[in-house]
Structure formats: C-alpha cells, structure tokens
C-alpha cells in the first residue's frame, strides 16, 4: 500500500516492519521525528520492542551494543554531532561484530552550528568499518532499512542507512509500505550462535594480545591483527552478499537491482556525473536537459559507499571521457573523499577517464538546477583542462 509521509516516517516504518526489539536513541534535528515515531509505535503496541530513552548518543550506541550482544535486534538513529559523540562506540560495535542498524539523517557538522544538510557526518566515519548505504528517496529508505537488518546479521557487521537531512527526512512523498508477512519471510529472526546468556557464561571482547596464542580449548586463537584482517576480508565480501540480498528483496517485493550504484542514462554516455544521495536524483533533470542538447551524459548514484564498490564504479566509467564527482563533504586539506576514492579505483584501469571534483551544498546551501547545469556544461566543454583540486559551487563571498 502506498502512503504519503516523510522520510523519517519511512525509516521508522521500515524499523517496525523489521521487528526491531531494542531501540535506544537521543533526539537530534533532523532525525528527531524518526525516534518520535518509533516511540509512538512502541507505546501503542504496534511494535513490540523495548524503547530506551538515553541521555546521549554515546549511551544510545552503548545500549545497542549490549542489546545486540544479548542476541536481540537493535536499532538507533542520529545526525551530525550526535553521530560524532558516539564514535568510540561505533568502532566498538564493528570490532565486536554486532549487527546493529542505525539511520543517519545527514546533517552538517558544527562548529559553526548548522541543522541543515550535507554529508560530512557519515563520510567522516567511512573508515570505522560500518557498512554505509545511502538512499535517494523514501522508497529507498524503507527498503534499505529492511535490507540492512538482513545484511547486518548475515555478515555480522553493523550497517548505517544514510539519507539527506530535511531534503528527504522532512519531505513528503509517496512510497509503498511492504506487507508484514513478506518482510517476515525475507528477514528471518536474529538467532546468533554466541550471545550474552546467563545460562551459558562466556567472555566477550577481552584484551587480545599482539600475537596468536592457545585458547582455553587448546586451539590457536587469533591476535588483534588476525581479527581485524578478518573484518576487512568480510567487509570486502559484503559487496557480493549485498548484491545477493538485493536480488532476494527484488524477488519478494519487485524493487531493487541497483544495490551498489544506480545508473541513469550512463550506458552510451561520454560523461558521467557521480554523487551520493538525493542529489543524484536532482541531477537526472539536468541530464535530461543536456541530452536534449545532444550532450551524451548520464548520472550515477553511489548507493553503497563502504565497503567501496570500486569494481562496479570502474566498470561503469570504462571508456568514458570524463567523470564529474559532486560532493556534499570533503576530506579537509585534501579533496572530496568520493573523488579521491574513485581516482584510486581508476588508477590501475586502462582507458582512464578524466575526473573532476565539485564541492557544493555544505550546511544546506541550496543547490539550484541551473548551477548543476553550468558546472556540467563547463566539465563537458573542456574535460582536459581541469585542475586536480575541487571547484566550489555557489560561493557568494
């Protein structure tokens, strides 16, 4: 059934359908309506879960870590400085291999304070080891939340589902709400083999020595570096796992097919705009305008940013004249993070395209369609003469 609601409600509805068992969250704009909706679901009995109001985001993640260790399906959500306040616990959740799912309504980071959208918050956490999935509209938000729970428990790695603050979190649009019975068959109950159980005591995440050593069972136990190597290998394998989960989702619900990147008019294109989030949809209108003027251009949204789908991106850009990377975040003192990642992925490929970088929309600065058209026109007109440093769109002073 289709409903018209906000992106935050789409996320909350996905969490309800996924039957999350423990929710711990601290409100922060623009995530707040999501946690309010979940507390309503719990209060009314529509969602049988424990809702634990906490005094900070650090505690929210700590509660999720405890709940997940005890073998329950745990969820939280945050934005911007709230995400940064839980950073120590973010890394812990990954190392402990806990399948927590978290929504992040993307917001710029203070100082100075901003409540408006950019993506610096989650992009700054790209190296924590969390899986990062980005949604471009409300349908993708609710679908991604449901897929995220299955992915997290399949690979034992936590997942962030990210969506643009205000632009998606507070905007209303139609989306289909999947049937509960179908979600139940797509997403089996969380049943870990090891969990915190008073009937079966055990140690979790104890101090691990630099070297391997015999465990209590006589088998050689891994040292820290082996455990971290396993995490990295499992994250790389997650790319294929997510493709399989997306296929299963598509079979059940009829939507999907673009788990890693979502391409629009790219196949015969000479030029490809690349970005993360709802901007990739706004760019579609610009692509259509340029196509009418016989510029062979397309746009690609990066749906999964970590693990990085380098092969999918290199395949999509093979033989193109130029890739134009738009970012609402950057690695300060260097370049856009996505731009640098794509450049690195292209290094070993033959027939490398040119690559340009634009920074825009920080702190909610409005992105006008005309600005995108001007930037893409500049890139397509002179692809060979761009500098290897980002150009900023819309600076007024």
């Amino acid at each position: 059934m289709h409903i018209i609601e906000s992106g935050n409600v789409a996320a909350a509805t996905g969490v309800k359908l996924a039957r999350a068992q423990v929710i711990a969250a601290y409100p922060i704009t623009p995530q707040t309506p999501l946690t309010e909706k979940l507390s309503e679901f719990v209060e009314s009995g529509a969602l049988k879960a424990e809702y634990i109001p906490v005094e900070s985001e650090h505690s929210a993640m700590a509660v999720c870590i405890a709940a997940s260790t005890a073998g329950t399906r745990a969820f939280t959500a945050t934005s911007a400085n709230g995400l940064l306040y839980m950073v120590e616990q973010l890394h812990w959740a990954v190392g402990a291999r806990l399948p927590i799912v978290m929504c992040v309504a993307n917001r710029g980071i203070g100082a100075p304070w901003t409540v408006w959208n950019d993506q610096q918050d989650t992009i700054s956490q790209r190296d924590a080891g969390w899986i990062q999935i980005y949604a471009n509209d409300h349908q993708q938000i609710i679908d991604a939340v449901i897929k995220a729970f299955r992915l997290a428990q399949t690979v034992s790695i936590p997942v962030m589902v990210c969506y643009d603050g205000y632009l998606l979190s507070h905007t209303y649009m139609p989306f289909d709400v999947p049937e509960q019975s179908k979600v139940d068959s797509f997403l089996p109950a969380f049943a870990p083999t090891h969990f915190l159980d008073p009937e079966n005591p055990g140690n979790f995440n104890t101090v691990t020595l630099p070297d391997i050593r015999p465990g209590v069972d006589g088998e050689m136990a891994p040292g820290y570096i082996e455990i971290r190597h396993n995490l990295h290998q499992d994250l790389r394998a997650t790319l294929d796992t997510f493709v399989e989960i997306d296929k299963a989702f598509e079979k059940e619900f009829g939507r999907g097919g673009n788990p890693l990147v979502e391409k629009y008019r790219c196949d015969d294109a000479d030029f490809v705009a690349v970005c993360i989030g709802s901007l990739s949809y706004q760019l579609r209108d610009v692509i259509d305008i340029m196509r009418e003027n016989d510029v062979k251009i397309g746009v690609m949204g990066v749906q999964m940013y970590r693990p990085f789908p380098d092969k999918a991106i290199v395949d999509a850009l093979r033989g193109k004249k130029c890739a134009i990377v738009f970012e609402k975040a950057l690695s300060y003192g260097n370049q856009g993070a996505l731009y640098a990642d794509i450049k690195a992925a292209l290094y070993t490929s033959e027939k490398k395209p040119r690559i340009h970088n634009y920074i825009l929309g920080l702190g909610g600065r409005e992105i006008k369609t005309q600005q995108l058209l001007d930037a893409l026109t500049a890139s397509c007109t002179s692809p060979d003469t761009f500098e290897d440093t980002p150009r900023w769109i819309g600076l007024k002073l």
Partner: protein, 188 residues
C-alpha cells in the same frame, strides 16, 4: 525546469496547519493519478505564529528535484494578514493564481496581472462548527474551486482521512462551504 510539474506554494503561520493542508492535497492528487507528489516544508526552525511556507509539487510523472519552489504556478494564503509581512507573489508565474483566505470581497484585492480567488475561510469554518481559527481544511475547498486541479469529492475524502478522530465531518463541511463560496477574479 520541468514543464510538467505544477508548483504550489502555501503561506501560513506556524501552527496554522499549512503543512497538513498541503499534505491532504498531496494525498488527494496522488489518488487522482498524479504519480509525482513532493511536499517540502520550510527547512529549519519554525515558530508558532511566525510566517512559514510549504512547497507542493505535483506531476503525472515521478519528481526528482526536491529543492524549494521559486517560481510557483499558484500560491495559497491561509491568513490575509500575511500580505503585510510577506511578498506572497514572489516568483509567481505569469497569469498565476493567488488563493486567499480573507474577509473582504475579491474586488478589494489586486496582484499585478494575476488571477485572484478569495473565500472567507475563517468564517466558513465557524459556520461548519469548528472552533475559530481553524482554516487549514476550509482553504482546501477554496483551492479546489479556484484551481480545478483536484476533484472536491476526492479532497473531502482526504480531509476526512487526515482528520480521523479530530472532527472529520466538520472539517469536511468547512471545505465544502468554502468551495461554494469562493470568488475568482481574472485580470482583463
């Protein structure tokens, strides 16, 4: 830039229910076959009583651009006192439409070259049995009559659904009275 998108800007005061009104129209438009419906409130901080606006875009096709409206086809004004504080016709397209809740007749209002529709929604809502100051259901009736964009029966159904448990019949009645009592003035 897409010509198939109808852009409607709603002006009200914080707490007056402009967002709810736009959401009701969004629902009714979707039911009527508009696949593309995007409603975006003012992003950021809102205060009760302060001027706010909401963007509603509708189209037969999916809408990809979520940026706020700058060149609306019509503006809906829930409170005529806003005319002293806000330039409600900013960016309004040529031959655009202004739908206004105001006590004076339509002949009293002129917006350069624009079509104007006036209904005393505040009064009609009280006639319908609502407490004074509830205008976000009634204004939908005026919008329906002036724009002809969505059928009044579909809108009334959407009003009853939205106000389920909050005087749905009286809110629906307010919209119907306003629909029957909306005057349209087309510039020569």
């Amino acid at each position: 830039m897409r010509k198939d998108i109808i852009e409607i800007r709603w002006h009200g005061r914080g707490g007056q229910g402009a967002i709810t009104a736009a959401k009701i129209v969004a629902n009714a438009a979707f039911v009527s076959g508009y696949k593309g419906v995007v409603m975006a409130p003012t992003f950021g901080t809102e205060r009760r009583g302060a001027p706010v606006f909401t963007s509603l875009k509708i189209s037969r096709e999916k809408i990809y651009d979520l940026s706020p409206i700058t060149t609306p086809d019509m503006v809906i004004v829930l409170d005529h006192s806003l005319l002293d504080e806000v330039n409600v016709t900013a960016g309004l397209k040529e031959n655009g439409l202004v739908v206004l809740n105001a006590p004076k007749p339509v002949s009293e209002y002129t917006f350069d070259g624009m079509r104007v529709a006036v209904s005393d929604v505040t009064k009609h809502a009280v006639e319908a049995g609502l407490p004074p100051g509830i205008v976000n259901s009634g204004i939908i009736g005026a919008f329906a009559k002036a724009s002809g964009l969505v059928d009044i029966d579909v809108l009334v159904q959407a009003i009853e659904d939205e106000f389920s448990g909050k005087k749905p019949e009286k809110n629906a009645k307010a919209a119907r009275i306003a629909y029957e009592n909306t005057e349209l003035k087309v510039p020569k």
